[in-house]
């Protein structure tokens, strides 16, 4: 083929090669811009998703529901054993209900003593999960509420019981929740009853890892983990889960929220969030002269 190629074809081949080079260059430049000015490109991404996803939601919702229906049907097969299990659990729950009732009374008395008011700022916005991240490397979901509903970056998202993640990326009609299981998720937490501070960091597994724990001996599997509210990152005292130990003796969190079925999430309004608008500056020593002085000391 190389021999009988005419001049015209050669010309087209060269043209194609130039086009290929140009396209690859443009794509790599986009990648580099994303690396350098991440917040801006991520905002652009949120806008793209915001315009695209609501358009196809009418198609995605029924498909999702049908798939869930089929999965539910499969679980009906094991309905007898499930029923037995539920009965046993119900028995246990009754015991807990009794305990909870007593605690509630006690709590009411103590609150009364303290003249304490619950924070009225902690109101909620409910959203429906429209889509997941679509990539096995990222753990996030898209909600059908966005800046039109007053959602802001950094707010906490819960299911009925426990923390699910933080808002990161808001469009007009959609917003993205980075789940606790995502590798970029780090949540300051407090372990009760020992009151130790730690980080709950996601590692792409169902149970995030506990990091930066001061005294391991004080933490026992089964301890409850709450957000600590350190650095004003999230409201304090939101339930995250229970402490557990994996076979490699690493401490992990068994999450309270049901991550298998995230359908409705509640986003907690939080007044004092800070927005990341630009790429931020380098963290440098206070003054360049200081290290040498410190060395002299």
């Amino acid at each position: 083929m190389a021999q009988d190629r005419t001049g015209q074809e050669d010309y087209i081949g060269t043209l194609k090669r130039i086009l290929l080079g140009l396209l690859v260059l443009v794509l790599m430049v986009i990648f580099l811009i994303w690396r350098i000015d991440n917040p801006r490109v991520e905002r652009f991404r949120a806008q793209v998703i915001d315009t695209v996803l609501p358009q196809v939601d009418w198609a995605m919702a029924p498909v999702t529901q049908t798939a869930k229906l089929i999965r539910d049907l499969q679980s009906y097969q094991s309905i007898y054993t499930q029923n037995q299990e539920l009965r046993r659990e119900l028995q246990k729950m009754k015991k807990w209900k009794e305990a909870a009732g007593q605690l509630e009374q006690e709590n009411a008395r103590l609150l009364d003593l303290n003249q304490l008011q619950l924070d009225p700022k902690l109101t909620r916005v409910s959203g429906i999960v429209m889509a997941d991240s679509g990539s096995p490397f990222r753990q996030s979901v898209l909600l059908n509420v966005g800046s039109n509903d007053g959602i802001q970056d950094g707010w906490a998202a819960m299911d009925g019981l426990g923390l699910v993640g933080r808002i990161s990326g808001v469009g007009e009609k959609t917003s993205r929740v980075i789940l606790l299981t995502d590798t970029s998720s780090r949540i300051p937490a407090v372990i009760q009853p020992s009151g130790q501070r730690a980080f709950v960091s996601g590692d792409n597994s169902a149970a995030p890892v506990i990091d930066f724990l001061e005294n391991r001996n004080l933490a026992r599997p089964g301890d409850r983990i709450f957000t600590s509210g350190d650095a004003g990152l999230l409201p304090p005292d939101l339930l995250i889960g229970q402490l557990a130990q994996d076979p490699n003796k690493r401490l992990r969190v068994r999450l309270s929220a049901d991550f298998e079925r995230l359908e409705f999430l509640q986003v907690l309004r939080d007044q004092k969030t800070f927005n990341i608008k630009d790429t931020g500056a380098l963290i440098v020593p206070q003054s360049s002269a200081e290290p040498s002085e410190a060395a002299n000391d």
Binding site: L32, K68, P136
Partner: protein, 180 residues
Amino acid sequence: MIDALPLKTWAYRAGFVFLALLLTFTELLPLNTLPASWVMPDVLLCVTFVCCIRRPQYVPMLIIALVFLFQDLLLNRPPGLFAALTLIASEWLKRRSRRSEEFSFVKEYLSVTAAIAVVLLGTRWGLGVVMLPMPEAYLTLSELLSTVLFYPVVVLFTQVVLKVRRAAFGELEAAVGERA
């Protein structure tokens, strides 16, 4: 030159774009919000490579670049990197397919395996080069393995159901001549 292209080619191109959108939205369905331990194959990558080898005129560069950039944005991947690597790999496959008169399935499968490896491992290392945390190795490797294993399924589907075979040497020449 472009006007000379038959309407059928444009119909197939539109079909490819539609299929790409469909596959992207299926990936977005919130069916499983737990982290996966085994990664599903990247079907769109397989489909694109099958097209590159069998009917390169249906997947021109610009369409590949736009479709994969769009997928990058929607699927929360670093935008541009995956698209650029896919574009390079698919152009390489097109050239190999066009150059060689006889392209046995074994040869095709080896080339495609190399192409998939370049795209998936390249994406991983590309993140490392710009000093971003790389995803876990087992995730990338399982995606690589499942995509490579899935490729013959797509080939079988195109040959048995769609009855699309690799264009014979002369046909492709004719197509190129037509465009020129």
